[in-house]
């Protein structure tokens, strides 16, 4: 029971982190129609920059400065590169960001090496928050969840309660009309891109210390984020939230489950036959937990191709 509780908490916090990255991705897509393939690279950059800044500025300043630098880089990418290829169409924009993600990963490998770096949770944050049944729960996990929740609250309030939010939301639906009303839409786009990059960078700076910081983290998380937006429905913040939590919780629960297809077939008496065949039939769910999100995605595609909260095309 305690383990299930822990798994649920871990999953929810991982889901919140996923949401932090996918929120920016889905916002940018909703506004500009650009699927930013380099978005997860911003997450990685956040982690590496925070790691680099930490010895100089201390942990707290590092996790604030790193996302700001990433936001600056994001704005630069939007202004210098994306605007240039905008005329060639959305597929081209996707490809350019794809190329960028390769370049960023390779540059990281040059400077930091093709292995994980020693980015650790600072000692003053390494204590347990509470204990249940003998197991202690690290405070830092709660801290990550807290940062993510705070960001959503801010983002939500900004989008729904401020003038800027109204302009941003209307620019998603009628960019030309908003421009005709005298708002600087390219500036709004740039701002949203910057905010999206900031969120991803912050997620990286905070989570990189807890999980590993290595040159593959962008790809690993990026794939998960894509699964999240396909499951949730691209362009929908609510859908991204539900899908992130769902994927986080499912993956983390599955790690503790020792069930294989063969053991399920035992119920109808075919278990031994399946065990003889081996291969995929005897794989335990716990060892393939990382692949569950993909199956979830295929399921959603079958049942509801536009995603949980996506609009029909």
């Amino acid at each position: 029971m305690d383990q299930i509780l822990f798994a649920l908490l871990n999953g929810a916090i991982y889901g919140l982190l996923l949401f932090m990255v996918s929120a920016g991705l889905t916002l940018i897509f909703g506004m500009m129609g650009v699927l930013n393939f380099a978005h997860a690279s911003f997450y990685m950059l956040g982690a590496y920059l925070a790691y680099t800044l930490q010895p100089l500025t201390g942990f707290w300043l590092a996790i604030i400065l790193a996302p700001l630098i990433v936001a600056g880089l994001g704005i630069l990418v939007e202004r210098v590169i994306l605007r240039r290829v905008h005329a060639y169409g959305h597929a081209h924009e996707l490809l350019v960001t794809f190329g960028l993600s390769v370049v960023i990963a390779e540059i990281i490998k040059i400077f930091y090496g093709n292995f994980p770096v020693e980015y650790r949770v600072p000692a003053e944050l390494q204590f347990s928050a509470f204990e249940i049944g003998g197991g202690s729960y690290p405070f830092y996990r709660l801290f990550m969840g807290g940062v993510a929740l705070m960001m959503f609250a801010l983002l939500y309030l900004m989008l729904t309660r401020t003038r800027i939010g109204i302009v941003v939301r209307s620019a998603i639906y009628r960019p030309r009309m908003v421009e005709a009303l005298g708002h600087n839409v390219p500036m709004v786009f740039m701002g949203v891109f910057g905010v999206g990059a900031f969120l991803a960078g912050l997620a990286g700076a905070v989570a990189g210390a807890f999980y590993t910081t290595n040159p593959n983290m962008a790809l690993e998380l990026g794939v998960m984020v894509f699964v999240v937006v396909v499951v949730g429905g691209l362009g929908s913040l609510g859908g991204a939230m539900i899908a992130s939590l769902l994927i986080g919780v499912v993956t983390s629960l599955a790690v503790g489950v020792k069930v294989s297809i063969a053991s399920l077939l035992d119920f109808i008496g075919l278990g031994d036959l399946a065990r003889d065949v081996g291969g995929i039939f005897v794989l335990e769910l716990s060892s393939v937990a990382a692949t569950l999100p993909f199956f979830l995605m295929l399921l959603v595609l079958l049942a509801r191709p536009s995603g949980l909260l996506g609009e029909k095309e």
Binding site: F29, L35, I81, R84, V85, Y88, H90, A91, H92, L94, L95, V96, F98, G99, L100, V102, V103, E106, I107, K109, I110, F111, Y112, G113, L219, V223, F226, V227, V229, V230, L234, G278, G279, I280, L283, S287, V288, A290, T291, F294, F295, M297, L298, L301, L302, P305
Partner: protein, 406 residues
């Protein structure tokens, strides 16, 4: 195809046919890899260039083809149903089957969704493969041997080269003939206007699945040729890097033309082979070239060249600006390469191991010693880079002004 183009293609095939007698064995090996990469890129761009469906997970079908070939080689020992020269049929078969399944799922959605689904499917396979030891051999992979068949022993590089050449030329020919059929025309329709095709009564989902399947099948052939060449397969072939490389290569060549992706892949593979002793960061150069091509030559290098050749009569060639642009490009390239290579050397773990307290040894690059804190080490590459950019900007302004006056 015009007569001129057919003759050109025939000439290329003729050169390829005598190539092993002209170059060294290591170059023949490079040529085998180039041919495989060219076929893989052609298969990829049937889907991506002609049908307009961008796949980020083509390594899956390439890899499945590889494993199918290794298993077939072990099962048949080069005899019976599948003698060594026919092994790629196993890759084609498995590519076909995987393509039907994956294609049915991924073509349910178009555009960016399609791209994300293909990536996720490939990553699913990549995550699953190490756990399935019987099929994919775990970390070590599976190895095999090319057995003698049909009077060839396939022991030398040259015989493998001809086997690969025959399969690659045959496959690319089939892919080309496909573009001439009504099905090939429909494929283009899928890219240009899916809605209209549906209004005309075509089943676009089935059509998309079919195109995906054919593309996966030829990717499987490319993968199995790779397995025949290296006599082994490892789950690393499912790595995202393989999918990435084929996307980069194809678009650098230009997916708008039929031969663009193949040429792009062959050339990039060649440079990758040649520079593999000199640099460890080939993928970075590939990525940079890709981003620059996407920004400044949106049709790809072969695509832009073809366009320029088509219009060359109507456009007069300005030698001056072209010369200065090329000079600028060369300066930028040299500056960037010097900066990247020096940074790579100074930040490598080998270098960190040689550094002792207060003692920073120089690194060698281009036969010269470079000290980490010497001003010249960093000023030279940056100056080259700056000069190149400045030259390009000046030429651009100049030609824009001239065009404005004219």
């Amino acid at each position: 195809m015009t007569l001129k183009r057919s003759l050109l293609v025939l000439a290329v095939v003729a050169v390829l046919a005598v190539l092993p007698y002209l170059v060294s064995e290591s170059m023949t090996n490079a040529a085998i890899q180039m041919l495989i990469a060219a076929l893989f890129a052609s298969a990829f761009s049937l889907l991506c260039g002609q049908a307009g469906m961008l796949s980020f997970g083509h390594a899956a079908y390439f890899g499945l083809g590889s494993f199918a070939a290794v298993h077939a080689m072990n099962a048949f020992n080069g005899e019976g149903l599948l003698p060594t020269p026919l092994i790629p049929l196993a890759g084609a078969g498995i590519g076909l089957l995987a393509g039907i399944g994956a294609g049915w799922f991924s073509t349910k959605r178009a555009g960016v969704y399609f791209a994300m689904i293909t990536l996720a499917l490939a990553e699913l396979l990549h995550a699953l493969a190490p756990h399935l030891k019987d099929t994919f051999g775990g970390e070590a992979g599976i190895s095999s041997f090319r057995m003698a068949a049909w009077g060839f022993d396939f022991g030398s590089t040259i015989q493998v080269y001809y086997l690969v050449l025959a399969w690659v030329v045959g496959s690319i020919l089939l892919l080309y003939l496909l573009t001439l059929t009504p099905f090939g025309r429909l494929t283009l329709g899928l890219r240009e206007n899916t809605h209209r095709l549906r209004f005309l009564g075509y089943n676009t989902h089935a059509l998309g699945t079919a195109v995906f399947t054919i593309s996966a099948m030829f990717a499987g052939i490319a993968g199995s040729l790779q397995a025949v060449n290296i006599e082994a397969a490892n789950y690393v072939v499912f790595d995202a890097g393989i999918s990435t490389t084929v996307v980069l290569n194809s678009f650098i060549g230009g997916v708008g033309t039929f031969f663009g992706p193949a040429i792009g892949a062959a050339v990039m593979t060649f440079f990758g082979h040649v520079t593999s002793d000199m640099t460890r960061t080939w993928l970075l150069y590939q990525g940079l070239i890709f981003v620059l091509v996407m920004m400044f030559l949106p049709r790809g290098i072969v695509g832009e060249a073809a366009e320029w050749l088509k219009n060359r009569k109507s456009r007069h060639l300005a030698i001056g600006p072209l010369f200065f642009r090329l000079a600028g490009l060369v300066l930028i390239a040299f500056g960037a390469i010097a900066a990247i290579e020096l940074a790579q050397r100074f930040f490598s773990s080998d270098y960190k191991a040689t550094v002792s307290l207060g003692n920073w040894p120089p690194v060698t690059f281009l036969g010269r010693e470079w000290l980490p804190f010497a001003a010249t080490t960093w000023i030279v590459p940056l100056a080259l880079l700056g000069a190149g950019v400045a030259l390009t900007l000046i030429v651009n302004r100049h030609t824009a002004k001239a065009a404005g006056e004219a």
